[in-house]
Symmetry: C2
Subunit: 219 residues, 2 copies
Amino acid sequence: MDKKSFETISLIDGLHSTPSRRYLSDTPIPDEIIWNIIDAAIRGPSGGNKQGWVWMVIRDKNTKTKIAHWYLKNWNKVYGIRRKEILSGIDDDALGPKNFLSADHLANHIQDAPLWIIPVLRDVADSQDPRVGSSIYGAVQNLMLAARAYGIGSTLTALHSTNETQIKSLLNLPDDALTMAIIPLGYPVKGRWSQPKRKSVEEVTYWESWNVKRDRAKY
Amino acid sequence: MDKKSFETISLIDGLHSTPSRRYLSDTPIPDEIIWNIIDAAIRGPSGGNKQGWVWMVIRDKNTKTKIAHWYLKNWNKVYGIRRKEILSGIDDDALGPKNFLSADHLANHIQDAPLWIIPVLRDVADSQDPRVGSSIYGAVQNLMLAARAYGIGSTLTALHSTNETQIKSLLNLPDDALTMAIIPLGYPVKGRWSQPKRKSVEEVTYWESWNVKRDRAKY
């Protein structure tokens, strides 16, 4: 476990050091920790406090293997097919070579992550509202941050969504429910709790009106 | 500022003590803190690392007043019209009487919050994908947690969305962009950094298959 553990890591440090972790061991995660991270998740926002959410805990090898098959197929269709081009830089996909390799590793080993959590939203199966996720993805972020506090790595993935119908059937979900993500979790075996690399904050912050930027250094 | 300040609050404590804060003073928020909380936001997840996001900082009274007018109208249409019923409990809306009152206060005073942040996503204006928010609402949660570390309260609201066209025009947003929320921020004048009340974690956690619950106390 990381030195900055559950006991000591500050909120601000946690926000700055929770990258996607895609190289995970198969070491089981204790039930008590699973409860704790979901208990932190559900403190996240929910529109009108409706909490139309369910947190599916998946550890069954058979379930994971079936879904992993679809996941890998979708990964290969969207990214894998461009392997050479992304790794060589000919295709300057935002993912980049390093993230491509880790995401490719995950796609080929996602079934080995000891724990998946699949957040589900009720009554949105037919939703075409791009803002509907405001009632779940904040809680998902809480979940991944809580996991990080326990030294557990995770990634937010949605490449399963092509196979929504099959997955709903496999998990016995009701018709109105929608799987919002698959979050594979495990203790990391490679990589660090480093700050995710992003465009600079100056580049993506506009002041009062579109494209009006300011210089951070002035403050 | 809350005793558990920037310097000391732990990640886990922060996740459990960041409720919606809707009673806000008009005390300005220093620019340096604005940069810091957006810098924490952008460490959140972004599908394929695309980062198609922009963080609009709104402090202009004229802009806020215009949008607040639409916001209040939408609030009254969706919730305000049911005031008596929700407050009396005849309408057992998930919001509940206490949250109704604070949300009603916000709807009538949102323009007084010293700072709004409007997260915008590119290339999704016509999206009908209910999972598209997975590339912004995690970052929004980071933003609200970072604000909390500085003793600044916030709420995730989307009641503005009925007036998307007018708001895009007011902020000079490009056609392809979509405003994903309005987040009013300010130093709280009422309430506490208490744990948001939610359904119990046992009630919303299913194990392997739909509706299969377990008892947390056994662990």
